[in-house]
């Protein structure tokens, strides 16, 4: 059988992808087997939740109410709303809501970015634990009480929640719903492997003293929640994941908003990767250095290679079709659909006729991916029923993700800053 370059690349990528997925699955089963029942400390720690806001007039009250609904002693819970120089009614609305609760405080500052709002909050608070909650998110009442026992381990400096999509109305929100569910699975495993590389804005909580040791939040290419995780890990501390502490977040409904958000995340990830390159392939940093970060880099390379290859094949098919059109006359819309279809059909045909190792491996990888997707749904939503979000995620996610990844790489290579909004 002839081995061309694409086949070799495909086999290598399949081998590495399978290796990574098997590693995740083995670790997942290990985590399930070794799970210890965590006990709440006899004296609950005091907690401050910082809510950084910028033009969140519509949602700030809802966020405060969601926090006040937490199943936690109110004398041990403080809410600190930090208005980051909003130009709408955020400050006034937050103050109005605060009047109803003695443990809610509102401060305001000149707009300086989210990380400065968080740092102001950290400076203002004196509690044992400090958390943050983006104003576009809501917490489950039991989230905090479930996360607190993880701090029994003195090396644990942060705990991340399980994030779910608040409402999935649009097609893109459906895709994100399945994506966030898969995130619940991977965070669970990454937490077990001590390889979490982001403490998300929606309700990650920290031991207050960690900021005295490693310093406050940084600008970090507009991804301060990623950088702080890299920094905690690089200091040898732990970040745990509480997979049943549910937080609901509002996801971008349109492609434009999603594209912007993901470009910022991807750009931030790449820039932080560069800033913390000493972690990569360094045994000292455990699984994060040896597994998750190296595989993330390899994944990005392969995404580009195969997305490029797909585009090249489609353009080639398009070229053939245009040539055909000029010779025998074919309608233009037929040409575009034919070109894409010809590429997809060519790949499937090749898989069918050449039922070789590559095809078998691709099927196996697909099967393990589907298993993980359904297992994730079980963890996040409590059932494994096939649903629209899973179908959309499987069919379309790998087609749209390279778009923002491509833009992020482009911005990194050309040193173009990626804005927040």
């Amino acid at each position: 059988m002839p081995m061309d370059f694409t086949t070799i690349m495909l086999d290598i990528s399949l081998f590495l992808s399978l290796y990574f997925q098997i590693f995740l699955l083995v670790s997942f089963f290990e985590a399930e087997e070794n799970e210890e029942k965590l006990i709440l400390p006899a004296i609950l720690p005091t907690v401050t939740i910082i809510v950084p806001c910028f033009n969140e007039a519509k949602t700030v009250e809802k966020t405060i109410l969601s926090l006040m609904g937490l199943n936690y002693p109110m004398d041990k819970l403080n809410i600190l709303v930090v208005d980051d120089g909003s130009v709408d009614e955020t400050y006034a609305n937050a103050q109005l809501a605060a009047k109803r609760f003695p443990n809610v405080r509102v401060v305001t500052q000149k707009n300086g970015g989210k990380y400065t709002a968080l740092n102001l909050g950290i400076r203002e608070c004196t509690t044992d634990i400090v958390g943050c909650l983006d104003a576009d998110s809501m917490v489950h009442p039991d989230a905090l009480i479930k996360m607190i026992p993880y701090f029994n381990d003195l090396q644990t400096m942060a705990v991340t929640p399980a994030m779910r999509v608040h409402q999935s109305k649009t097609f893109l929100q459906q895709i994100q719903r399945a994506e966030y569910n898969v995130g619940v699975f991977t965070k669970r495993v990454f937490g077990y492997l001590d390889a979490i590389n982001v403490t998300p804005g929606p309700f990650s909580i920290f031991r207050r003293t960690v900021f005295d040791i490693i310093g406050p939040f940084h600008h970090a290419h507009n991804t301060e929640d990623m950088e702080i995780a890299f920094r905690i890990q690089s200091h040898g501390f732990r970040i745990a994941n509480c997979y049943d502490a549910l937080v609901y977040t509002i996801t971008p409904p349109t492609f434009k908003k999603l594209y912007r958000q993901r470009t910022r995340w991807s750009y931030g990830f790449l820039k932080n990767l560069i800033d913390y390159k000493h972690i990569i392939l360094n045994k000292k940093y455990g699984n994060m250095g040896m597994l998750t970060l190296p595989f993330a880099i390899v994944g990005i390379v392969f995404v580009f290679y195969f997305a490029g290859s797909f585009i090249y094949q489609t353009l080639r098919a398009l070229g053939n079709d245009i040539e055909r059109m000029l010779l025998v006359g074919v309608r233009v819309p037929e040409i575009f659909t034919h070109s894409i279809w010809a590429t997809v059909r060519g790949t499937l045909n090749e898989m069918y006729y050449r039922f070789d190792m590559t095809s078998v491996l691709a099927l196996m990888l697909f099967a393990t991916s589907v298993y993980i997707i359904f297992k994730s749904k079980k963890m996040s939503e409590g059932n494994m029923k096939p649903s629209r979000d899973i179908f959309y995620f499987i069919c379309f996610y790998s087609l749209i993700a390279p778009l923002w990844l491509g833009k992020a790489v482009y911005n990194v290579l050309l040193s173009k800053k990626t804005p927040w909004r």
């Binding site: 290796y19 590693f23 250095g289 040896m290 010779l327 025998v328 090749e350 039922f355 078998v360």
Partner: protein, 253 residues
């Protein structure tokens, strides 16, 4: 921080290698089964060739109303599928693919002769095109001619197009090329014993065979061709590239 557990990394590596070995064995097993099918196709071809001889005999003794179109059309279609499988499994230049393509060409010639005979017996006008192409990369006109012939075939479904790889080195094809003075310039087309060298546009082909639609209509009334699923319709419907008797994948390489 959880320490880097080297044993786990090695365990997962061994597990992955194990899966690779299983995948390799499974695909090998399936491909061997496919190759066995190809071999059986090769074996059955000799019987088909013998059958075609018998059909010639029958034709000379029977009225054209009871003669079926061609027993070879289905076999040609099966063989085309086998060629695609063999190409994917062994590559375009492999000996097994070349052998299959030679069988294919041979069957095409047999089918062509048989159809000619049927038409002669039944006093109908032949509507066959012999098309000679080259697989070499510099014959872009061959690809274009493929597009044109496919379009022509779509226009006239009863048209029979027999495509031959000029470089295959098959004696029977060489006899045709000598007979019709084909090459070295390609593509070349033979219609009604007349050779046309170089690229022929759709309009030119329509002019070369102006009464094709009349011929097609006449032939469709004949029972001799009614039942036949023509060679060319099997080969040209899905893709213009398939006019050449080769798969689209191959053409793109």
């Amino acid at each position: 921080m959880k320490t880097y557990d080297k044993r786990k990394y090695i365990f997962v590596l061994l597990l992955t290698i194990g899966i690779f070995i299983v995948a390799f064995s499974l695909s090998n097993y399936i491909n061997n089964r496919k190759i066995a099918d190809i071999k059986s196709t090769e074996d059955s071809i000799s019987i088909d060739i013998l059958s075609s001889e018998t059909q010639f005999e029958i034709l000379q003794q029977s009225s054209c109303s009871i003669v079926s179109g061609s027993i070879l059309s289905d076999q040609l279609s099966n063989l085309a599928t086998s060629i695609e499988t063999a190409e994917a499994a062994h590559g375009i230049d492999s000996d097994s693919v070349k052998t299959l393509k030679k069988y294919y060409s041979l069957l095409e010639i047999k089918d062509y002769l048989l159809i000619q005979e049927i038409y002669r017996q039944c006093d109908a006008r032949p509507i066959s095109i012999l098309y000679f192409y080259s697989n070499s990369k510099n014959c872009t006109e061959c690809t274009n001619e493929g597009y044109v012939l496919t379009a022509l075939k779509e226009e006239y479904p009863d048209l029979r197009i027999y495509s031959f790889d000029y470089d295959l080195g098959l004696n029977a094809v060489s006899t045709l090329t000598t007979l019709y003075k084909i090459g070295p310039k390609l593509p070349a087309i033979v219609v009604n014993n007349q050779t046309y060298t170089g690229f022929q546009s759709l309009d030119t082909l329509r002019n070369i065979i102006p009464d094709i639609s009349v011929a097609a209509a006449t032939s469709s009334t004949k029972s001799a061709t009614n039942n036949s699923s023509t060679t060319s319709s099997k080969k040209t419907n899905s893709s213009n590239l398939e006019v050449n008797g080769i798969s689209p994948q191959q053409k793109q390489k």
